[in-house]
């Protein structure tokens, strides 16, 4: 779900209520994960493909959704192949890919502000002490800051590469964490300045 951002459009999925999309996504993921049967997986993959078609998205968008997880998917596939069988390795990997693509489909077709409204709708029956607005805002901010943190990571990596430290995890992680925390402070301040406490 966190792999990429909203792709503007006017399809049925773009217009669907965010709370419904999140609810269907939850049901889809639970079903595909709990019902371990190849037919279920095939149906799940077909449904995702249908969803991408309805949303006017193509295979490239689906691939973009799984690209950041390719290494993890490969490790899982090899581990399953080593421990179990080829068919099980393929099944487990394809199932994860289906979940990632389904989650990305919701992201692709839902604006952050609609997502906020969706979360607020889902939390509408939560007890009063639950800070609904703050939870919804925090979730929405994730959308905005994934590309920013990604860009900051690239900048830090470039800087450390220039110093010959591109393989030093400490040299990569420490500046990134410091910058991210500093950014978080500044963003919180900007939100306050925009009269949203």
């Amino acid at each position: 779900m966190l792999t990429d951002l909203y792709i503007p459009g006017d399809s049925l999925l773009h217009r669907a209520r965010p709370a419904w999309k999140l609810g269907v996504l939850f049901l889809y993921c639970t079903s595909v994960f709990v019902i371990s049967h190849p037919l279920m997986l095939a149906a799940g993959l077909a449904l995702v493909a249908l969803g991408y078609g309805i949303a006017g998205l193509g295979p490239r968008d689906a691939f973009t959704a799984i690209r950041p997880a390719l290494v993890v998917l490969l490790i899982i596939f090899v581990a399953q192949l080593w421990l179990e069988t080829l068919s099980l390795a393929a099944y487990v990997t394809l199932r994860l890919m289906a979940l990632l693509m389904a989650a990305a489909l919701v992201t692709y077709t839902t604006r952050a502000s609609e997502f906020t409204e969706g979360i607020l709708a889902l939390l509408s029956r939560a007890p009063k002490w639950v800070p609904k607005d703050k939870i919804a805002l925090a979730m929405s901010l994730v959308w905005r800051f994934i590309p920013m943190i990604r860009a900051q990571f690239d900048e830090v990596r470039e800087a450390q590469r220039a110093r010959g430290l591109e393989r030093n995890m400490l040299a990569l992680v420490v500046p990134l964490v410091v910058r991210t925390l500093k950014t978080a402070d500044e963003v919180a301040e900007a939100i306050t300045a925009r009269s949203l406490d």
Binding site: L5, S113, R144, P147, M148, T183, A190, A193, S195
Partner: protein, 225 residues
């Protein structure tokens, strides 16, 4: 409307950042200059209530408690000010606490984007905008709230010459009074009043033609600036 500082001090731990500042501002354009760490950003943050005085009072007209509903604030880095993934959503975000009808929110967004010639950015993803575009979107985010005064904290530091000129042009057409903290003395040259802050105090206060040359002369002595 006049912004009044009455014996305002700001202390952090044992360090006094601002000391006994007393002044009234009602000029259309006010510039604030001073070396790094002089207290000018803290001074600016008092306008919007981002910083609370340790002693003394800050008033905008008769208002003392609810400054940020009257005073807009633009930060140096628009990346930290633009918080939503899409331009239109981000502009609407600033109006959320005002509980305005949707039609009013949409109308304000359309009007501000049109005034700043940014209508073409309405459906763009904010992280894909250039630095100059982000700065203008951040300005639009302030303007939709219809502030009576706008504070700018080093607004041109991250901009190239072209974007700086575009920003200066937008600034010159804003009807609201503005207070601008900047190291960019060209930007402040045509302002109505310049405050030079040093060591947490108002070191000089007057017309740009008086204050800026004196500040430059001071900067030539590196120990002083």
């Amino acid at each position: 409307m006049t912004m009044r500082f009455d014996r305002v001090s700001v202390t952090k731990g044992t360090r006094e950042i601002l000391s006994e500042i007393t002044l009234s501002l009602n000029e259309h354009r006010v510039g604030v200059i001073g070396h790094n760490g002089s207290g000018k950003s803290t001074f600016l943050r008092l306008f919007n209530g981002l910083e609370k005085p340790s002693s003394g009072t800050v008033r905008f007209g008769e208002t003392e408690d609810d400054l940020r509903h009257h005073v807009g604030f633009m930060f140096q880095n628009p990346d930290n000010q633009v918080v939503y993934p899409m331009v239109e959503e981000d502009l609407a975000f600033g109006l959320k606490s005002r509980k305005l009808p949707k039609a009013e929110v949409a109308a304000r967004i359309e009007r501000v984007l049109s005034e700043l010639s940014l209508t073409h950015l309405k459906d763009r993803l904010t992280h894909q905008l250039s630095g100059g575009e982000k700065q203008m979107v951040a300005l639009a985010g302030v303007l939709v709230t219809e502030p009576e005064l706008i504070c700018f904290d080093e607004p041109t530091t991250l901009l190239d010459l072209r974007n700086k000129m575009q920003f200066m042009s937008a600034l010159s057409t804003l009807p609201q009074p503005a207070v601008v903290v900047s190291h960019d003395l060209d930007l402040l040259a045509g302002f109505d009043r310049i405050l030079h802050i040093a060591d947490g105090r108002i070191h000089a206060d007057g017309k740009p033609e008086d204050v800026i040359p004196a500040y430059k002369a001071l900067c030539e002595d590196l120990d002083e600036c």
